[in-house]
C-alpha cells in the first residue's frame, strides 16, 4: 500500500464510509493503482469467503435438534419425577423415627411398670401357678407374655 487512502479501502468496500469520503474514493480509486489493487484484493477475499457458505437441509437439522430437545426434556422429567418421589417419600419417612421413638418409650414404660408389678406380685403372693407357668415357658419371651397376661389380669382385678 503506497497510497495514504489505501487504509480506507477496507471500509469503502464494506460501504461503511461517510457519504463525502465515499464520493471522494469513488473517483480516486480509478486514478490510483495501489487503491484499485487493494479493492480488487478485498473483493476477491469476499468472494472466496462466500464460497465457504454451507448448504444444509433445514428439515433434517430441525429434526436432529428436536430429538435432542426431547431427549433432554425426558431426562429432566425423569430426574424431577425421581426427586419429587424422593421428596414425598422423605416427607412420609420423617414421622417414622418419631413414631418409632414413641413406641420404644411406651414399650419401656410398660415394661418397667410390668416388671414392678411382677416383682410386687411375686414378692407378695408367691403364686405357684405363676411359678409353674414360668417353669413351663420355653423362652424368655414366653415368660414375658405369661407374666404380662397375669399382671393384666391382676390389674383388671384392681390389685394395683
Amino acid at each position: 500500500m503506497n497510497c495514504a487512502h489505501s487504509r480506507r479501502i477496507s471500509r469503502y468496500a464494506d460501504n461503511e464510509l461517510p457519504q463525502k469520503e465515499k464520493e471522494f474514493l469513488d473517483k480516486h480509486i480509478f486514478t490510483c493503482p495501489p487503491c484499485l489493487h487493494e479493492l480488487k484484493a478485498i473483493t476477491s477475499i469476499k468472494e472466496r469467503i462466500l464460497k465457504n457458505k454451507v448448504d444444509t437441509n433445514a428439515g433434517f437439522f430441525w429434526q436432529t435438534l428436536k430429538k435432542r430437545i426431547d431427549t433432554e426434556a425426558r431426562a429432566v422429567s425423569t430426574k424431577e419425577m425421581f426427586s419429587l418421589d424422593f421428596g414425598s417419600w422423605a416427607k412420609r419417612l420423617i414421622p417414622v423415627p418419631i413414631f418409632a421413638s414413641l413406641l420404644v418409650l411406651a414399650f419401656l414404660t410398660i415394661n418397667s411398670r410390668n416388671s414392678n408389678l411382677i416383682d410386687a406380685y411375686l414378692f407378695t403372693n408367691q403364686d405357684s401357678s405363676v411359678l409353674e407357668l414360668m417353669d413351663n415357658a420355653g423362652s424368655q419371651s414366653e415368660i414375658n407374655i405369661l407374666l404380662y397376661n397375669q399382671t393384666s389380669f391382676l390389674r383388671s382385678q384392681s390389685i394395683c
Partner: protein, 179 residues
C-alpha cells in the same frame, strides 16, 4: 413488530413452532459462520446444534430491547470458540487433501481454493476472524457486528482491516496449486 420478536413471543407463549421457525430461518447462517471457524461441515453442524440448544434454554429470558440476530451470532461465535479450545482443532492442511478422490477438474479447483481459504482463515486470530466472518458471510454492518461482539465500531473496523491484510498475505504466498 420485528419478525424475530413475533416468533420469540410465539415460543414464549408455549408454541414450539416459534422456535422451529427461528431455527429454520437462521440455521444455514449459523452453520456457515461455524464452518468458517472449524473448516468442516460436520463440526460446524455440531456447533450450530449446540448454539440453538443454548438459545432454546435461554430464549424465555430474551429481552426485546436486544436484536435477536446479534445475540444469536454472539452465541455462535462463543460456541465455536469453546469448540476450538476443547478440541484443539487441527485444520486440514493442503497437503492432506486427497486429490485423487476428486475427479472433476472444476470441483477440484474449487475445493483446493476453498481449502486454501480455510487454511488461511484458520491462521487469523479468533477475534479478527469473528468480525470478518460476520461481515463477509452475514453481510452485517459494522454497527451490528459491534453489537454482536460487544466491541466498538472502531475495533470492528480495525479487526476486519487486519484480518484482510493477513488473508491477503497468506493467500498470495500460497496460491492453490491447480493440478
Amino acid at each position: 413488530m420485528d419478525e424475530d420478536l413475533e416468533l420469540i413471543n410465539k415460543f414464549k407463549s408455549g408454541h414450539l413452532e416459534g422456535f422451529e421457525m427461528l431455527v429454520k430461518k437462521y440455521h444455514t447462517r449459523v452453520i456457515t459462520i461455524a464452518n468458517s471457524f472449524v473448516g468442516n461441515t460436520s463440526d460446524a453442524e455440531d456447533i450450530a446444534q449446540e448454539t440453538f440448544l443454548k438459545i432454546y434454554h435461554t430464549l424465555e429470558s430474551f429481552k426485546a430491547q436486544a436484536k435477536f440476530s446479534s445475540w444469536l451470532y454472539r452465541i455462535t461465535v462463543n460456541t465455536a470458540y469453546d469448540h476450538l479450545r476443547k478440541n484443539k482443532h487441527k485444520p486440514l492442511s493442503l497437503d492432506e487433501i486427497d486429490y485423487s478422490a476428486i475427479s472433476d477438474n472444476k470441483n477440484r479447483e474449487d475445493l483446493v481454493a476453498k481449502e486454501a481459504m480455510q487454511e488461511a482463515l484458520n491462521k487469523i486470530p479468533f477475534d479478527f476472524r469473528s468480525a470478518l466472518t460476520l461481515k463477509e458471510i452475514e453481510g452485517l454492518s459494522y454497527q451490528e457486528i459491534a453489537e454482536a461482539l460487544k466491541i466498538t465500531i472502531g475495533t470492528v473496523e480495525s479487526r476486519i482491516f487486519r484480518a484482510r491484510q493477513i488473508l491477503k498475505k497468506l493467500l498470495t504466498h500460497k496460491e492453490p496449486d491447480k493440478r
